[in-house]
Structures are given as C-alpha cells and as structure tokens.
Amino acid sequence: MSTAMFGARVQRLADARLVRGEGSFIDDIPLEGALHVAFVRSPFARARILSIDCQAAREMESVAAVYTCDDLGSLDILMPLLIPHPSLDQPRTQRPLARGDVFHVGQPVAMVVALDRYTAEDAIRLIDVDYEPLEVELDLQAAVADGAPRVHEDVANNVAAHFVQSTGDPDGAFARADHITKIKVQVDRSTAAPLECRAVAARWDRVSGELTVWDGTQAPISVRGGLASILGLDEDKVRVTAPDVGGGFGQKVLLFYPDELLVPFAAMQLGRPVKYIEDRNENFIGSSQERTQIHELELAATKDGEVLGLRDSFLHDTGAFIPYGIAIAQVASTSIAGPYRVPNIWVEFKAVYTPTVTITPYRGCGRPQACFAIERAMDKLADELGLDRFEVRRRNLIRDEDFPYRRDGLMFADGLAVEYDSGQYGRALDMMAEHIDLDGFAAEQQEARAEGRYLGLGLGFYVEGTGLGPYEGSHIRIHPITGKVYVNTGLSCQGQGHETVFAQVAADQLGVDASDVIVVEGDTAAFDWGVATFASRAAVVSGNAIHKAAAKVREQVLEAASNMLEAAKEDLVLEGGKVFVNGVPDMAATLAEIATASNPLRYAFNEAAKTSTQFAPASRHDGPALGEGEAPGLEATDYYSPPHAAWAYGVHAAIIEVDPDLCSITFKRYICVHDCGRMINPTLVEGQIMGGIAQGVGGAHYERIEFDEEGNPRNANFMDFLMPYATEVPHAEILHIETPSPLNPLGVKGVGEAGCIPVGQVVASGVADALQPLGIGPLEHVPLTPDMIFTALGGEKEE
C-alpha cells in the first residue's frame, strides 16, 4: 500500500468555508418560520415546587406555547440512565421539566415557545413559580456524612455508587513496604466551555411523518435512537444531523439534555420548526461539568523507591444526577497507577450527589484527577526518600519488555481489563530530560535565585486509555461521474479535523489525493450505524473502519480494472485517481470510468456511461449483467471493533517562574513528549495537544466553578470564570514518539484528550520546585490559584 497520505502534514479540508464564515452551525441554518425557546430555570439548588402559574405568559400574543411537566404527556419521564453499572445502586436521572422538586440551580422548570428569543425571555419572566427552599450541602466530604442534607430524599449519605477494585495483593505489599507515602489531593470542578453553546432545532413534516433534528451533539446516531424510542417513532423517520459543531470536549455527548427532547416535541406539537440556542449563562448552569474529586492515596515502597502497592480511596462529585453512570470515576480509578509498574492496587470510590448541575465527562474524563493524585504522590515519595523526581519515575515505569501490561481485576470504562498495549515510557522520560537540559536548568535556577527570582521545573507523566469500543463503521463509494471517493461514517466532528485524517486513510487505499475524498459524518441519513465521538476514539475506531472498508473497495477497483484493461491484477497500479498497467501508463482507466463500468446501465447519460450500456462491446455478457452475488458500483461497508482500549501516554514538563509577592506564575518553557502510536497527520495531532494543554492550563491555575453555600454558581459567565486567553497559554514544544498500537491495522491510538491530563501536576510541581527555598507548604489542590500559593507560603487571608 502507498503511504503517501498517512503521516503527511495535509492541510485541513474543512478550513476554506470556516475562515470565510460560511460554516453551518445550528443557529446559522435558516429555518423558515421557526419559533424560539427559552426556559424557566430553578433559582434554588434544592427546593420543592409549590405552584407554577403560567397564565400571564400563555396570554402573550407572541407566545405559541408554555409547557410545564403537566403538559408533556408521555414525555414526562425520568430520562435514560445511559450507562448502567452493577455498583450504581442509587441511580437518579432528571425529568425534561422538573416535577415536584428541583435539584440544582439552572434545572429547567418550564419552557416557553415564542416568536423570537427576545419575547420568549419576556414570557419566562411572567411565569410565577413558588418554591420552598430546602437545606443543601455543597461540600463533598460533608455530603457523605451521616445526617447530611440529601439531594435525593431516599439516597442515604448522597452516595450513588460505591465501587471497589483491586489487583494483586495490596495488603501484602503494604505489609512488606519499607516506606509508605500518604497524600490527599483535590481537583476542582471546571467546565468544557465550548465557544458555541449547545443548540438544537427541529422540524416535523406532518405529511411524510418525518422528524428532522439539528443537534450540536457529539452523538447524532445515539440521539436518534433515543428520540425515536421516546417519541415512539420508527428510527427511519427520524433524521439527526450535527452540522458544524463549535467545540464539544465531552459536554455535547450527554443525551438527553432536556432541550434535546423538548424541542422536537414542541416542533411536532406546534407544526412549526422550533429552535433552542443555549446562551452562555445557561451553558454554565444547565450543561454538564466535570472534575471535583478528592483522593486519599497511599504508596507502599521499598527504600529504593520501588512502588510495591497503591491504595486510593476517593470521592467523586456527580452533581444532582448520574445519567452517564460511573464512567468518569471508573476511568480515574483504573488510571490511578499511571505509567508505573505497580502490581498491587486497591482502589475504591464513592460517586456522591451534590445539588449542582450534572457531571458527565469533560475532556480528560477522570484522567486529570488520577494523574494529579499519582504524580503528586510520586513527587512526595521522591522527596521523602531523598530521590530525584526523574529517578523515582525511571525506577517504576513499565519497561518496554513488559508490554502488553495487564492490571487484572481493574475493569476499564469499556468493561474490559486494563491492558496497556505498547509504549516506550523510559525513552519518553529520557527524551524529556535531555530536551529540557536538566543541568543547564539547575544552573539557571541557581542564578535566578541569586537575583531573587524563583524558577521551578514542573514534571508530569500521564497515560490515557483511548479508542474505546464498542465499534464504528464506514461506508465508502466511488462516485461514477466525478470519481470522487465518498466516505460516510457515524461520528460527528467538533473541530478535530476528521474530514482530513479520514480522507488521508481512505486516500492511501484508493490511490487518490486526500482532497478527492469527501467525508460525510454527523448525519444519520448518510450513515446510521455507530456510537459517538468521545474517549479519544475517532481516529482509532472510525479510522480503522474506514481503512478496512477502503481496502475492500480497493479490491473491487482492481478487479474491475483487471477486466477493463484485460490485465492481471498483480500488474495493475492504483495511483493518481486511476489504474494503469505497470510500465504501460497509457493502458489506464480512471476511477470514474471504473466506477461507471461497474454499474451496468441502460441509459448513456454521459460519455463515460456509454461503455456501460447493454450494447457496448465491453458489457457483452452471456448471462445477466450482474452475476449472482455481484453488486453494482464500487462500494463497501466495514466496521472496526477494538479488542480493548489502546493506551497512549506522554510526559510534560515546564519551566515556571513564580512571583512570590503576586503569587502569579509565568511559563518560561512548556515541553510535551507524547506517543499516540502512528500519527495520521502530525499537524492535527499537535493541534489537539496544544488545545489540550491550554485547557489544562485553565484547570491548573485559573478555572473553577464557584458555588456559594446555598449552591448558587458565582461565576457563571466569561467575566468571572477565567478561561485563558493567548496571554496566559504557553508556547508548547512538542516531541513525538510513534510506538504503533498492535491492536488495530493502522497502529494508531487516540490523542484528543491527552494534552490536558498532566497540566495540573506540571504546574503544582513546578511552583513547588520554584518556591522550595521559601519553604512552601504542600500544593495538593488545583486549580492552584494565587490565593492558594499565598496560603502555602504561610500568608494569612484578610477577610
């Protein structure tokens, strides 16, 4: 096979329309006569609804309808628990519109459909809801105590799930350890904050009985399945399209948000297209978030720093509901030993309800928390044993010869045992040490200190189980008129560049340029088998499905060309959009010609088609034009289902300068060594990593969703929630290692989430290293804000 496209820095195929402002984000799609939605949302974290008065709103002339739970009929249901798990014995999910109780600030209570958003917002102000506020507990540790106020009346201690897993003999390891390191770490809540908020629009065609839904979702096929099921429609009568989606980062994979059900419902009821465009405040209070976990972790080690065992017990904040099951906590718990050869592990977690917006995966999905816990612990172990941070890691990294490395007894988020497939962890650490120039840095650090400046080296290693199943598929067809290759797959894209990397994969098999491949995704009318875009899985799962389908089409092309050119298949070359006989470039047929000839025709609608009509010499057959078992055209469908997750990894380091007076940080350098297997397009891989690092920097130093004691979010806007601008994000130096995954034909692993995972650790360890001469206390909590640095330096807060 030619490898011209795979691995090449192909420029993106989606850019031309996006840089012109010609994208099709949901609110850009013209929908004649569309009505607009606004929601009445709970102003209380926990309250009983005593009454709702919609009379005044209903009387407004520009209001089409007002809905409360009483107006939803069969839609007044508990929405689905998407990922059930045996440990999840107290699952609670949300209703589209609250009935009886509200469980977080921002929960939808009533929906207005009006002429435009402006009047819809006028109308929600006329709706009078009488609430009886109830007691709340926002603190995660206090929430699990006996007698704590409950989010759900019948869930004791607010514990939704309690899960324990272990591998090896942890008790034995702790019994024979020379040294035990204990640490308690916390990562706080953040949010994906995609720049396009969520959006959904729907149109119901009463005549054909077809429902069309435009949904800025990462999971159009799954949304369709759910909608059809809940609305009682045949799946073929529901088309879900995710056109251009302005970032997702996990927030757009949850189904259902109430609006995703209610907007199609209203469109069906009202006979007019209906549109809901979430605003920024609603995105903060109504769309899911992630991160808060508190880990208490212990390492059992020898005096040489070899880790024999690990125990970790953590609390995971799941918000008011748990529709996505225990996925995040499960990923955290199974990633807890990171890249280290720890044979004995015991890990438990409790998923805890708090009266806050629901928690579902946000880029990283439990991995940043697990990485922060193990990496802070490894630093502490090194400190306590007087070892160098690089050295303590080197002594424990899984060695090249240990792969595949299993952690029997730890079940990953795909329901399969953790098994790291491949890697060169030691090499990655050595590359980092060399690239950063440790000796040079030590000298620089000394010089800076002499000048009263504080430089520190931050270091963090991460692993990431990527490319989760169950499966994805692809349908490929070579278009008879243009010879263009159409690739349909079931995912949706939120900016990752699927259209480019998938085109590269198909192009290699079919001997065309990537620009001749048209990737269609995010539309159930184009392809409707598959799951969603999440878990750094698109390149792995869809990528390999496309590779397999393209290989089948390649065979068809060669078979057909062999007939047309009257040459043996082995003598044919497929290149530059045509097949020719090796050494005889004139004996050639273009893909368009081959595709046309592969479809027996009656009507010659163009020049090429003449060759395929019944009386053309090349089409003469003794029997039927299509033999038994043959199909017209050049097309194939195939699927890829991974045996288990493919484990990517990397190490990040930074040189950070800290101003101990302002407690501010400045990145002097930021370096990433990573390995995501074979790279389809290094430019796009780097783009994913740089974007991940920027989000990681946000979570490490700036971004935290703040609640007051009554559960009101205090910074639910971009003024107060500090997302980094270009002035805060460092320039990243990126070094690649490519260890192929043995699990899939392309040898690839995912990279979507990687960048953000270790940044909290990099910042905390860098600040600790910088301020060590000032006797800084432990830094075991991110985001590490200036306040926290001040406190760790012994400063006292002024109230």
């Binding site: 994208g23 435009d116 302005g246 974007g691 971009f718 960048g755």
Partner: protein
C-alpha cells in the same frame, strides 16, 4: 400528535421598531428593526450574515467581532439601532474579489490556526484590524499574544494563531 398552534398568535413581535440605515460590507442596507435587537442578531438573522458568531453575549469571547468604521467592536454589545449611518464590515466582507482569501484567512488555513472554526471569524476580524491599525506591528510572541488577547479560543491553544499572524504579515508583504 395533534397540532396545537394557537389561532390568535401574533405574526410579529410587539416590540417598538425603528428604521436603521447603514452600510454592511459595502452595501447600503435599510431595515425596520426592533429597538432592542442586538447588532449581532441583526447581522445574523436579518441580513443572513451568519459568519458573525455569538459566543457569550456579554462582550468577553470576541466571537462576534466586526469592524465599525474601521475599528474592531463586539457586535453583541450594541443594538442595531445604535449603528445608524455606520460602515460595518463582517467576516463575509474580508476575502478579496473572486475566490481569493484574505492573507489572514489564508494564513489561518496554512498554519492550522482553527479547529472548530466558531471563534475564527472573530479572530480574523481582530487581526485584520490589528494590521490595518499598525503599519509596523509588533511580531514578537508577546506582541502578537497581546494583540490576540480580546478573543477566546477553546480548541487551538492559540499557538498556531500566533503563527498565523506572522504568516499573514509575510503574505501581506509579498
């Protein structure tokens, strides 16, 4: 399911309206608009110029950046009726004649300076204006990053946008 459109529903909002005349991307436009209609919504929904995106509606993210009489501004922070007589340029008015991308657009493509593309029009408008206002722009990393500091991007980590600014400068010189 039964259709339940209320018979008495209004066909247009009861908002007071006012006529506004302005120039958008070189074309004269006159419309009767609600006095509370945001300029961003006016451009998007009245004129169909949907390249101006709305990311926060409180003037922080910069997705809705357009130029008003040559200066960059957030179109979500103005009402349509406030820009009477103004000359507005949006992302749709940036590319050259025919199919030629503006150097900033071209540089964004070449440098992989966009991923989802939602913030991109706002960045491009800010950068185009930056070059127009600074004939001798500061192309150091710090200088470029300061110039970009009015726009949020959640996908790229900004590094390739910084690169694209330099590349655009090269293309404009050429």
């Amino acid at each position: 399911m039964t259709r339940r459109v209320r018979q008495e529903m209004a066909r247009s909002s009861a908002d007071p309206t006012r006529q506004v005349s302005l120039t958008v991307n070189g074309e004269a436009v006159t419309r009767e608009v609600s006095t509370r209609l945001l300029l961003s919504d006016f451009l998007r929904h009245e004129l169909g110029l949907t390249g101006t995106h709305v990311g926060c509606e409180h003037g922080v993210c910069g997705c809705c950046t357009v130029t008003l009489d040559g200066a960059a501004m957030r179109s979500c922070l103005a009402f349509a009726v406030q820009v009477e007589g103004a000359d507005i340029r949006t992302i749709e008015g940036v590319a050259g004649a025919g199919d030629v991308l503006h150097p900033v657009q071209q540089a964004f493509h070449e440098c992989h300076a966009l991923q989802c593309g939602f913030c991109t029009p706002g960045f491009i408008m800010s950068i185009v204006t930056y070059f127009e206002e600074n004939k001798d722009p500061d192309l150091s990393d710090d200088g470029i990053r300061a110039a970009l500091s009015g726009n949020l991007c959640r996908c790229t980590g900004y590094q390739n946008i910084v690169k694209a600014v330099r590349r655009a400068h090269e293309l404009m010189k050429a």
